[in-house]
Symmetry: C2
Amino acid sequence: MYLKKPMEIEYKSMDIIEAELGEHDFSPMELKVVERTIHTTGDFDYKNIVSIKSGAIEEGIKAIKGGCRIVTDTTMAFSGINKRALEKLNCTVECFIGHEEIFKNAKLKGITRSMASMDYAARSQVDIFVIGNAPTALYRIGELINENKVAPKLIIGVPVGFVGAAESKEYIRGFDVPSITTIGTKGGSNVAASIVNALIYMASDGNRDE
Amino acid sequence: MYLKKPMEIEYKSMDIIEAELGEHDFSPMELKVVERTIHTTGDFDYKNIVSIKSGAIEEGIKAIKGGCRIVTDTTMAFSGINKRALEKLNCTVECFIGHEEIFKNAKLKGITRSMASMDYAARSQVDIFVIGNAPTALYRIGELINENKVAPKLIIGVPVGFVGAAESKEYIRGFDVPSITTIGTKGGSNVAASIVNALIYMASDGNRDE
């Protein structure tokens, strides 16, 4: 016998996480974000490494409630975001990494497709950047901010890995922009999506669509 | 300054992982799989928790080289798999979780969509199951094997979480079927995709498409 009802599984999972989490200083909203990263990775270390710059959650929820434009670096992050819930809130989510023009631009400029897709996205206002994989995307967002080409309301930046990931997140935390990042090597597109979903569910005031 | 060439980043990343990994008993092929799970999560714990049942890698590569049918439980796992490389090897990958019929079937039978999508997939032979999220999908695969409804050549089973995930993987390891799983709570759709990609790259004999 095993549980077969998705929401039952999720509630039970969140209860277990909260019980195992032990002492912490998270606000109730911060807890929702941290819990979901643990839920999506099975890794309690996220308790120690999620970094929420003050106001990031509030700004994210406000943007989502207002109907915003979200851009991800990977199709995996795109896939992991609850688009049914997002549509109800009149938000859009886009990922350009697989577009033919991005391949061309990246080759032409000698940059990563992730960078080229950030340039492409920044042709219009991006409210929330969701970066799960590419340190180069995060660096590019910083450059675009410095060049006044984009003014995001929130950056969710959790690239994973050993080459520039930790540094790219440190770099983004240096900006005067609300951000949710991780300290160190851990992260990923699944983590990025889980953070967006945590914000979406809070913005939905419990009227979550399954 | 930061690295902007994808393959350069990846090679450097793998070098760092290999250097940090320390002593191990992995075969060269096992190492490729374990390294890629660490690469995709930033988490060295995968060194200790990846469980490769004997012959699983060889069977996986053989199936992929022969042109096989792969089915995933999530669109995230589907997204993370290198489909360009897969197409060159005449393999297909499918995910049914979002299909209208799956919603209907799940509701009708009172089961998860993940389970319903495994039932649906098993109408034809599935060579490799790739389960990154749903313990219920993994349990269902076991049931379908017991009912002689499916005979996979390899099961990649790395559901994540605190409700049945560890148990579902333990359950699948009990079958006389090649499997690559993780011990405990960790895993995820990104990890599942990374394992498939490791096999694809080995099957491509270094002729990897970027």
